[in-house]
Subunit: 477 residues, 2 copies
């Protein structure tokens, strides 16, 4: 939706001051490597889900400086005409690799690697982070919620509480990738092919003289799929009895009731009994009141009779943890054809970056097809393989494990080659199916909502050596 | 930014099913009144700040169903050709009143009232909520953060963690209304006139052979305003000494250092001493590491030496409470020229709506110009005035208070008349100044971050009577 607009200026201003700096120092065309990665899984979960790549591709394909952009920058009075002319002729020429959308991802892994002229590879930082942080956050949260529903369908209902238009639309896209069966947001269906559904608000019921009339009219207009909102006045005394009366009179093809307030467990059990008593076993029950994975888990454990959940604000804002902390870091420079790995040091050991141009391999057990570990290697190293491969914990190198009977999959796939997109973008349903399929390869212990097992993301021996050599070099500052 | 696009389909699908329902039942042109209001101030604060109205106006002025929209709806197979033809000819004809942006607002007050054909007044629900919820959330959070900084400047730095493009751009607009002095987001300056600033990332420092070289080059390129990021390697051993050396050699007009990691209090005290020692008392110190109102308050109390804060993810996502729960409710219908007030009942007393077409008055003390209370009245009632006006707590009617020596201000101003915008939109700086000015009228006890005094929002006697009569009517369901 946003993609038809030129979003080149949707960038942190420092990308522009640095771009000019590289231009002025004749470094703009030095070759640099940047990695996007994240450090912490939201909500203390066992894995996150990659999303937002399609929008990154759209952004990069449309990256150019319009006359309006140039005028704006000229007005800042900080940049030379030579630099502005250079921007006018800007053409994205980088190579990009990325982990496909829908893939379970773990902290420290390069999700996107950009290689190209320093000025360009730096400039795209803000939007890559914005797009991938946002959609990965929502896909990850949606997947938690969908898993909590244990096979019951989950609809994304949060448009009105989203942080602006693109949060609503791309949020529902990400929620669909994470496993939601649809959305309330019409434009997401028009533009992204995500099933949109919706029936009535309380105001529909209130505009009629009584609730029964409002239901009857609705059933007459929508005989194929008639979901009635039963909590405008009183769910059990008024809403459900009126719904039953209308369903019995009008016999819609599909029928359901929606409850949007009150105690979900109590009300759905009572409502189910009343519907069954009336012979309406086919009538489904939808609930939609401040749901998230914790409440859904609990009401299901309590025996609530729910067929489908509408999840709003707690999904579309990822309320319990609304930040996906992806970062974008310089990992190498090429000087005179020689690769110079770069590291960012921190007093916090987890914040020290992995230097160099890298690959990410996921190792699967040959018999079960379940994941065994991920290994980050240097590009050009031999891929993990053979009969036996030893991995070790990079924070505790005495923790070693020999892996046998496995195969390795290279997670980073080529997306752009010299600025040209060479990736065959999957459809949204392909991404969604792939996500479900990949989640089935995870250990059950990774699926817990709290205190899951921590997945192995190890470094190859060569990468570990390089990293520790660079850390040593900074010891004496 | 989004406003050049047709966002008509950015709506909950139920707005369309209801629109068709009203069309099919010949109710589409009945006159309805809807209120947007919110129930709870985020973060337990004492007040919220209204924002997003300008984008609501843009949305309503551009509201029409494109051929693409009609095609999409036709494809759903749910709607008659007569209805689709009606949509094609759709023209927004409602009256709209709203509380201006930048105004401190309180739970239960109509922020926006829409009066017009039922189908139209209902249809605009989703986008009004989306836009006002988002920007009011961020303006409110920004204002808390700005107040915590006690006169030090606060920059909005959160683009990369925003929930999509419009969350970044309109989020920085809202943050500016709330009191931020600028943003890192370039497009917000280009399109909304919000000062954008930014200097360098760690990668700038890393691309040079050493930190000193990177600072020196930067100072040469930007002699007017040279803010150096000093925490790439080691703040006190390397960053600050190199910055001092460069400042002494290059003598930039304005100079500053930015610290983005580590203990802010410790590092800024040490850095300040080193800078002062070097005669660089004019050098400012900017910090930008996971700041919010609580941390800023604490580090200032600890004596941290900070001139300016860059606030990222905790502002742009309102991390501590990322949902502004505004709702949009039917409050009246006109049938045969007669006004029929409507109420939404709930077991939770605070969730019961205020019926009828209403006004909101803010009462100010004539001597101090400080607020006294807000009073919601029925439209057409006499405005609060005279020598003595008695207010009462609508939840506890025995709590009464006589107000003397006051004047009343009508907060809801006309925005649209029969679909035409009649509002003279203020500039962003006018909105920001108005916000600051209005906050100065609030009691100091409302400004506390935790457990503030609860402001009086009372109902007029006539409104209270109407509300309780309607509640009575539902007692027997």
């Amino acid at each position: 939706m946003n993609q038809s607009l030129n979003l080149t200026m949707l960038t942190d201003f420092y990308e522009i001051t640095m771009a000019n700096g590289y231009f002025e120092t004749d470094m703009a065309n030095d070759i640099a490597y940047f990695d996007m990665f994240f450090r912490k899984i939201p909500d203390g979960g066992g894995f996150a889900i990659m999303a937002g790549l399609e929008q990154v591709i759209d952004y990069l394909e449309n990256l150019s400086f319009s006359d309006k952009d140039i005028e704006y920058l000229r007005g800042k009075g900080m940049f030379s005409e030579a630099f502005l002319k250079y921007l006018k002729g800007f053409k994205f020429e980088c190579d990009v690799w990325a982990i496909p959308e829908g893939t379970p991802i773990f902290p420290g892994e390069p999700l996107i690697t950009v290689r190209g002229p320093l000025m360009q590879a730096q400039f795209v930082e803000t939007m890559i982070l914005l797009l991938v942080n946002h959609q990965s956050l929502i896909a990850t949260k949606a997947n938690r919620i969908v898993r909590s529903a244990k096979g019951r369908s989950v609809m994304e209902f949060g448009t009105r509480r989203a942080h602006g238009a693109s949060a609503a639309v791309l949020g529902s896209r990400a929620a669909y990738i994470g496993g939601c069966m649809g959305t309330a947001c019409a434009i997401s269906e028009r533009d992204y092919g995500i099933l949109a559904l919706g029936t009535m608000a309380h105001s529909w019921v209130q505009t009629f003289d009584d609730e029964y009339q409002s239901f009857k009219k609705y059933a007459e207009i929508y005989p194929d799929n008639c979901v009635l909102l039963v909590d405008t006045y009183n769910v059990l005394k008024s809403g459900v009895p009126n719904a039953i009366k209308v369903f019995q009179e009008k016999k819609p093809v599909k029928m359901g009731i929606r409850i949007d307030s009150g105690d979900v467990t109590y009300l759905t059990k009572k409502a189910r009994a009343m519907l069954d008593e009336a012979g309406l076993r086919d009538c489904s029950i939808v609930v939609s009141n401040s749901m998230d994975e914790y409440i859904i888990r609990d009401v299901i454990l309590e025996g609530a009779c729910i067929d489908s959940f509408g999840v709003g604000e707690r999904l579309i804002t990822s309320k319990s943890e609304p930040v996906f902390g992806g970062v974008y870091k310089l990992v190498a420079l090429e000087k005179k054809g020689k690769m110079i790995p770069k590291i960012k040091i921190s007093e916090n050991i987890e914040k020290i970056t992995n230097p160099g141009f890298k690959e990410v391999y996921r190792l699967f057990d040959k018999d079960t097809n379940k994941v065994v570990a991920d290994v980050i290697t240097l590009n050009g190293e031999e891929a993990p393989g053979g009969d036996c491969y030893e991995i070790f914990d990079p924070q505790a190198v005495w923790k070693r494990k020999k892996i046998v009977n496995f195969y390795a999959k290279n997670l980073l796939v080529p997306i752009f080659e010299k600025g040209k997109c060479i990736y065959d973008k999957p459809s949204i349903d392909e991404i969604k199916d792939y996500c479900q399929e990949q989640i089935r390869t995870l250990w059950d212990e990774l699926l817990r909502f709290e205190n899951p097992q921590i997945y192995y993301v190890d470094l190859s021996h060569d990468l570990w050596e390089m990293k520790h050599k660079l850390i040593e070099e900074y010891q004496h500052i």
